[in-house]
Symmetry: C2
Subunit: 294 residues, 2 copies
């Protein structure tokens, strides 16, 4: 059990907590919540969902030459990924112009199709797309130790949920295959849906951005219980971890050799971890393997 | 099995469908959704949640004499239930003045407390309140044949959900005890929640009214699957039944002797049932018992 984790304080903290919970917490209250990007799967050099959107923008630009003159379609069409990274970076620095432009087009990228059609587009993406630097299918970019942890928790009667800033309907088609987490246990950001003609359609209206303080709000809305285990990796996970009564895991990206090394976007989370009893998971020191092949 | 259902076409339709689904539908896709008011529990002479709110208004008026001059507190304080019934009736007739007044106070009745405190208030209500005419605790006002149906479905691998226009956080504390449905499978109307001080608080802002076309939208948002069985009783359930691919049950309140006889608010639903393959459940003809005691 947890064979891809090195023995040590982190692994012991997990095993001790799970042993305690399996004896002392009723099964229905064994709720565990996991951030996705950077916690369960690799989020560098860009969010997986951004790749999905890039391909959609390119497809739209292929079909409509006029779009090629306009961002974000131009960047997607020419393969100029810098524009996207810059838009996100500038957003975090307080300059929102490009990010808002991007967001508006993101919201309309899949509008007016049914939820089933959207799921088909997502599945088609995952069937063909590979990670740009790791060279493996995105569906193999989940962290092996975390997938092991999910299974270990499930074996001990936990209900595992994804609670992610990523798109709920982008993750749902693959979470079962990758994590053993069914769609009804996926909480994430969403665009509004609307009902007509006996079907549910995707709109271009934002609904929830499931990040920061919205994570405890959305997970409580969905589950109606307070988690006893939470795992995250970034500032957007602080409130979810704070709300959790039990084991709080913060994955630290400190493994340039096997994954990526970065703390940008995790500054506040690392401070919280240091100031409280959160358990920091070092990818470099705690994981025997990252993706199952060293 | 289904012993409180009379043998006949309705019971056969249910048993045949469940037998078919248990053989032909993968367990994870056996999703059944149930309206609550008038489908799982009695909604007459007033919604159970209205009684809960009345008691809260009275409590507020007890504490603050100034409120006794103001609706809806005056009505609650003096026990003039007519005002509430009239507000709802006029709302359905297009006159929204009193209903909007009521709604505003409903929204603020429990604001600024934590979700845990709210659950305690709900539990305290259910521990003491009895149905005004049936004289039994509200927790015994679930329809025995429907509770049997829920158990029968669970035994056959179905996941049962409540999808109700009633308040999600009002139902959650009792659905396990009454229906065997855990909080994470309760979808309902909601007020907004907010996060502060490491806890989730109730606001006075409306979030979702889970009725009519919002039912398929909200259930899909929560479950990510299309149900194969749905049960309702009113116009607000039409879209949920329409969205369901499989068995659609419409409970008809035609039993003045044992429950209540009414079709107001169900006109459109009954028309849909007649024009399609929905299965109408007659409380009078299909149920051997309503509340377990004849």
């Amino acid at each position: 059990m947890l064979r891809s984790w090195h023995d040590g304080p982190t692994k012991s903290a997990i095993v001790d907590f799970v042993d305690w919970a399996a004896t002392n917490v009723p099964p229905e209250e064994r709720v565990a919540v996991f951030d996705n990007d950077g916690t369960l799967w690799c989020e560098k050099p860009m969010y997986v969902q951004l790749d999905f959107l890039l391909r959609r923008f390119k497809e739209q630009a292929d079909d409509d030459p006029a779009l090629r003159e306009k961002q974000p379609y131009r960047a997607a069409y020419t393969g100029d990924l810098t524009w996207f990274g810059d838009a996100v970076t500038k957003h975090y620095q307080g300059d929102d112009v490009d990010f808002k432009l991007l967001l508006a087009e993101v919201l309309s990228a899949h509008h007016a199709i049914t939820v089933d059609e959207h799921a088909s587009r997502v599945k088609a993406f995952f069937a063909e797309a590979t990670h740009p630097t790791l060279g493996r299918p995105y569906t193999s970019c989940g962290y092996t130790p975390m997938v092991e942890l999910l299974r270990y928790l499930a074996d001990n009667g936990f209900a595992n949920y994804v609670v992610s800033g990523g798109g709920r309907d982008f993750m749902r088609p693959v979470t079962w295959q990758m994590y053993g987490i069914p769609p009804e246990r996926v909480v994430g950001s969403s665009v509004g849906l609307t009902y007509r003609d006996a079907d549910v359609f995707i709109t271009a209206e934002p609904e929830f951005l499931d990040d920061g303080p919205m994570k405890p709000v959305r997970l409580w809305s969905r589950i109606g219980r307070r988690p006893i285990l939470a795992a995250g990796n970034s500032n957007g996970d602080v409130e979810m971890l704070e709300f959790t009564r039990g084991l709080r895991l913060l994955v630290r990206h400190d493994d340039a050799a096997r994954e990526f090394e970065y703390a940008t976007g995790a500054e506040r989370a690392l401070q919280h971890a240091a100031a409280s009893d959160w358990t920091v998971v070092s990818m470099r020191d705690d994981w025997r393997t990252v993706f199952g092949s060293g």
